[in-house]
């Protein structure tokens, strides 16, 4: 990774636990949901880090913890080098000028009683910033920029479609020209044609304003479309991080392999060529995660060592980190087609696994 000082967002050893309370007359804390359990990540200037995982992986908690919407249990979060985990709410205000958030549900993230103008101008008012030419002018420019009609300044959110509401949310997020925007599943509630519009808009805004994104999503295709680098989470732990190109063509972690192979491709011919790995079972409970590697209960590579020893996240190639005792270095048939396979060279320093996937089924 690049120099630590240059990162817009730097998260190290982040842990966010939620207490589990018993029901009854006297509620007691009887356990902890380890939603995020020791996560490291960094986002450089103008870069998009895609954070993928299934529900229960802790990706949304990471997004919230990074902006102190949920206070992390321990660990460090630095925005432009400034440590923010121990800041009070008041001291966080200037940080919020640098880092904004876009939410998943465009229906619930906007106050239905405020006009669009009111919603988008809120960041100016909260931060007591008077833009050149006045707030209204600035808001209308923003509205135009994100593809909304500036004349709709006085309308209410319920008069807009889902895609337009997400545009309102984006306008609010970029209002103060933040350095970082945390996007929590920003397109998963939208239809594909609208989703593509929003993805293009986010990318254009990034080019124009040099914004960095932490882009949290469950859809691997969407993440591939928008990200420069991708991080894969499972049950509160980071499994693998790599550049987009490497992650999608030469994944090492068995979980990444199975994730990639699970996504159907909208192309019947290609779909038939793939070998698909079917994971069995469900995500274990984050209250009582498996010992050793958290993925081992569903892993087709798992061996005795995996139950005992937690695999550390190690850098196996520049910019490519993986947390696995038995990474799969073979070219994944699950992902690429036959004619490209020879172009990929094996990754150095990765041991060849003793056995291949034992549950590879043809699509």
């Amino acid at each position: 990774m690049t120099d630590a000082g240059k990162e817009v967002l730097e998260v190290s050893n982040l842990r966010t636990y939620f207490p589990v309370r018993s029901r009854g007359v006297l509620p007691r804390t009887i356990g902890q949901v380890k939603a995020v359990d020791g996560v490291d990540l960094a986002v450089g200037p103008g870069e998009t880090l895609g954070l993928v995982g299934e529900s229960g992986s802790g990706k949304t908690t990471v997004a919230r913890s990074v902006l102190m919407l949920v206070r992390p249990t321990s660990g460090s979060v630095k925005i432009e080098g400034q440590e923010i985990t121990r800041l009070s709410q008041r001291d966080l205000a200037p940080v919020r000028r640098k880092a904004a958030m876009i939410f998943q549900d465009p229906y619930n993230a906007l106050n239905p009683r405020h006009t669009v103008g009111g919603i988008i101008s809120a960041p100016f008012k909260i931060q007591k910033i008077e833009p050149e030419g006045g707030v209204k002018r600035a808001v209308q420019t923003l509205m135009e920029r994100v593809g909304l009609n500036p004349e709709h300044y006085n309308r209410y959110p319920n008069e807009f479609s889902g895609g337009q509401r997400q545009r309102i949310g984006i306008a609010r997020a970029v209002a103060l020209r933040p350095k970082l925007i945390v996007c929590d599943e920003p397109v998963s509630a939208l239809d594909v044609s609208i989703q593509a519009q929003i993805l293009n808009l986010l990318r254009d805004l990034q080019h124009e304003f040099g914004i960095s994104y932490l882009f949290v999503a469950h859809d691997l295709a969407v993440v591939r479309q928008i990200s420069h680098r991708v991080a894969v989470m499972y049950l509160g732990h980071m499994m693998e991080t790599a550049s987009r190109k490497v992650l999608y063509s030469q994944p090492l972690h068995p979980y990444t392999h199975s994730l990639l192979s699970a996504v159907p491709i909208p192309d019947p011919a290609r779909q038939r060529e793939r070998n698909r790995i079917l994971l069995e079972g469900d995500l274990p409970s984050p209250i009582n995660p498996p010992s050793g590697c958290v993925f081992r209960t569903r892993c087709f590579q798992a061996q005795e060592r995996c139950a005992v020893e937690i695999p550390p996240l190690v850098e196996v190639a520049p910019g490519h980190k993986v947390a696995c005792h038995f990474p799969i270095a073979t070219v994944p048939k699950s992902v690429v087609t036959e004619h490209q396979a020879h172009e990929l060279a094996p990754v150095e320093g990765v041991p060849v696994p003793p056995a291949g996937p034992d549950r590879v089924v043809p699509a």
Partner: protein, 361 residues
């Protein structure tokens, strides 16, 4: 199709010509009167499926795909909706059936699974009891026998430790397990038609793959005809034999799955394909359809897609704005609802697809 205009309510199959396919939806329309106006949810939809095949109905929200499915199942409240058209299942017309006859068909001949398995199972009853209820409403078997059948079916759909799980409540199961329970409940009376309404949308990808695999294997085993309602063109490519693309309450293109992906002709289908981010390709920029879907209260007068279509100006006389195009065969087994000349459509299609396939893998 000499009997297309057969009087509504004719339910005996004896007079029917055998050429009618296994399932045939003919000119189905569903309208809901609301305070804001008449919601035209489904507007003259015709579909056919042969026995044992899978038809995917693809569309975005508001396209009318779910309402179509519920109308086939007879789940639309006849008191609040205005419906017309016919649904023929194996020679029997369903739309005109009196309620008791329809209830006898639901759950035995046609079964349905839904998007959200959590909210689709009753939270207060044990999963086993919910399936036993489905058995005993259609067949007079003892509770003991029904329970045995339930356990066997739950085992078939891949529920582990069935003897223990059968008495669980829905909230004690994971999302994937709940959807397996829904599938078991749907299959328990050996239906001939299974309607799956976005069965994997609420599930994680790895679980989605498990469930689609299960549906495919069950279809093989039980020889069931499947209607798959989805917005996900990836899932469609995986399992469907034929695809109907819906937009604004109408079917705008219908083809075999291979033909739809290789030679799509309707500009909306092309737009959908260019909108999807691809897992297997790296694209610099998506090429989405501009604008928003039309309001079902105020559909465009001509082609429903015209306001978002990039090519309507290539049709003379503003025909797309004024005249509703018909769903016509362009080649055998491929129907398109578009005013553009077939040659022009194919030319457009070829150029869009070549841009699409230009992405790096």
């Amino acid at each position: 199709m000499s009997t297309v205009h057969a009087a509504k309510g004719v339910s005996s199959g004896a007079t029917e010509v055998p050429e009618r396919p296994f399932l045939s939806v003919e000119n189905l329309s569903v309208k809901f009167p609301t305070e804001d106006g008449l919601v035209q949810a489904v507007d003259g939809v015709s579909l056919t499926i042969e026995q044992g095949k899978t038809l995917a109905i693809v569309g975005e929200s508001g396209s009318g795909k779910s309402v179509t499915a519920q109308a086939i199942m007879g789940l639309i409240d006849r008191r609040t909706a205005r419906m017309s058209g016919q649904v023929w299942l194996d020679g029997q017309e369903l739309m005109g059936l009196p309620m008791p006859d329809l209830q006898a068909i639901r759950g035995s001949q046609i079964a349905m699974i839904f998007q959200d398995p959590m909210s689709s199972l009753h939270p207060f009853y044990r999963i086993g009891d919910q399936i036993i209820e489905a058995i005993r409403v259609h067949r007079s078997v003892s509770k003991k026998q029904a329970r045995k059948e339930t356990i066997d079916m739950l085992r078939r759909v891949g529920i582990p430790a069935v003897e223990r799980r059968v008495d669980d409540f829905p909230h004690q199961l994971s999302g994937g397990m709940r959807q397996r329970v829904m599938i078991a409940m749907a299959l328990i009376n050996s239906p001939r038609l299974l309607i799956a309404d976005e069965p994997t949308t609420a599930l994680d990808v790895t679980v989605q793959a498990q469930i689609m695999e299960l549906i495919a294997s069950i279809q093989d085993e039980f020889k069931i005809t499947v209607i798959l309602i989805t917005h996900d063109l990836g899932v469609v490519a995986d399992v469907a034999d034929e695809v109907a693309v819906m937009y604004g309450g109408r079917v705008v293109e219908r083809a075999t799955t291979a033909a739809l992906y290789l030679k799509p002709e309707m500009p909306y289908t092309l737009g959908l394909l260019s909108s999807i981010p691809r897992m297997d390709k790296e694209m610099d920029r998506l090429d989405p359809i501009p604008g928003n879907p039309p309001s079902p209260i105020n559909l465009p007068k001509g082609c429903v897609f015209q306001p978002r279509c990039a090519y309507w100006e290539r049709v003379p006389d503003d025909l797309c704005k004024t005249t509703r195009p018909e769903l016509l065969a362009t080649v055998p087994d491929h129907m398109v609802r578009c005013h553009l000349e077939p040659e022009v459509r194919r030319e457009i299609s070829a150029s869009v697809l070549s841009v699409l396939s230009g992405g790096r893998s």
